[in-house]
Amino acid sequence: VNGSRLPDAVVLGDEVALSRTALAQALLQAGVRRVAEAGDVAQAHALVRRTRPDVVLVSESLSGGGVSTFCAQHAGREPVLVLSPTTEHASLLGALTAGAQGYLGRDEPLSALLAALQALHRGEAVVPRRMLGGLLHDLVQQRRRADEETSRVDALSRREREVLELLAEGMGQVEIAAVLVISPQTARTHIQNVISKLGVHSRVEAVALAREHVSGRAS
């Protein structure tokens, strides 16, 4: 929608005066019309509310709680681009799960920052290309694990699934036996089969896995 235009207005949160002022000046020089500077999370929020920027640019370690705190309290729709001193997988994941739409290392040139701001302004997400592999790997692993767990739950017999549901309600072996009208010994056998089929070590783990599986389906 916005083509390759730079955003008109940016809120820039950076706790280090030199990099904040140097960045602000460089952005203005590059054609951003308004740059509002904030030294901590609270200031950044206040400026976002007041100036309604097109993009928010925040330092990963912004004083007052960093990116995670900033994003948790960021109610607006303005996309957030995180500037990180080092590009590491964990810090990228942290920024994205906090709700940021973009992530850029400070070891990138100014041209990369300008390109990232344009992309965010167009509504795109920005992740360093060389970090995409790791990110995809993570997602694929997560998905595989979820699929595997799903297939293990699917492998349970109808009776075993009933037992698992009752376990999830917090019932013990005697109560389950009463509800299903079976002997406590049979209930015990069912529970043991559930545990071994799910590949877990305890009733608690079995219930936890079942909950994840159920909520995973619901979402």
Partner: protein, 184 residues
């Protein structure tokens, strides 16, 4: 890098962050200086703005060791040996520091000879800088408050400062404060 063919290079920037390096080069260029990052620079500049913790910092400074290049350290802990500009300063202050270095004046004016203050005067000044009143200084050093007043007056005279407050600020700028006296 602009104008390098016909103009000498004023300043080369080498920071751990390429983003900040680029922004600083842009700021210097805007201020009318010829500036480049260390990777682009082809010859020795008049001033090197160096982050000592950047990768390759020692290589860059070693390469320029035999030249006339003056080194300004970026964000290093203050040391009497080097000229330092802090990261807690806005970019305009850094541009000014580089300009001063270019015109031959140190970013920090040279401090008066350390012999100017006696050891006792240094101790008194250090205590004063921590907010001690004459009574406190007198109690700490075990001298009369009249003597303390004399010491303070001598310090103001030697540093050519109009007030205790001004003397303390001056001492901070020039690293005149005594670490020994700070221990309780």
């Amino acid at each position: 890098m602009r104008g390098t063919a016909d103009r000498p290079l004023d300043v080369v920037v080498h920071d751990r962050s390429l983003l900040l390096t680029d922004c600083l080069v842009a700021a210097f260029t805007r201020a009318g200086l010829t500036a480049a990052s260390s990777t682009e620079a082809e010859r020795a500049p008049a001033v090197l703005l160096l982050d000592p913790q950047a990768r390759g910092a020692s290589d860059v400074s070693a390469r320029l060791a035999a030249t006339q290049t003056r080194i300004l350290l970026l964000g290093a802990p203050p040391s009497s040996a080097a000229e330092v500009v802090g990261r807690d300063q806005p970019v305009a202050v850094v541009v000014q520091a580089v300009r001063r270095a270019l015109t031959g004046r140190a970013a920090r004016p040279a401090p008066p000879s350390t012999g100017a203050l006696t050891r006792r005067e240094q101790q008194v000044l250090t205590l004063v800088s921590r907010g001690a009143r004459n009574d406190d200084v007198s109690a700490t050093l075990g001298i009369s408050s009249h003597t303390v007043r004399t010491h303070v007056q001598n310090v103001l005279a030697k540093l050519e400062q109009p007030s205790r407050h001004a003397a303390v600020a001056y001492a901070h700028r020039h690293g005149l404060l005594d670490d020994v006296a700070s221990s309780p």
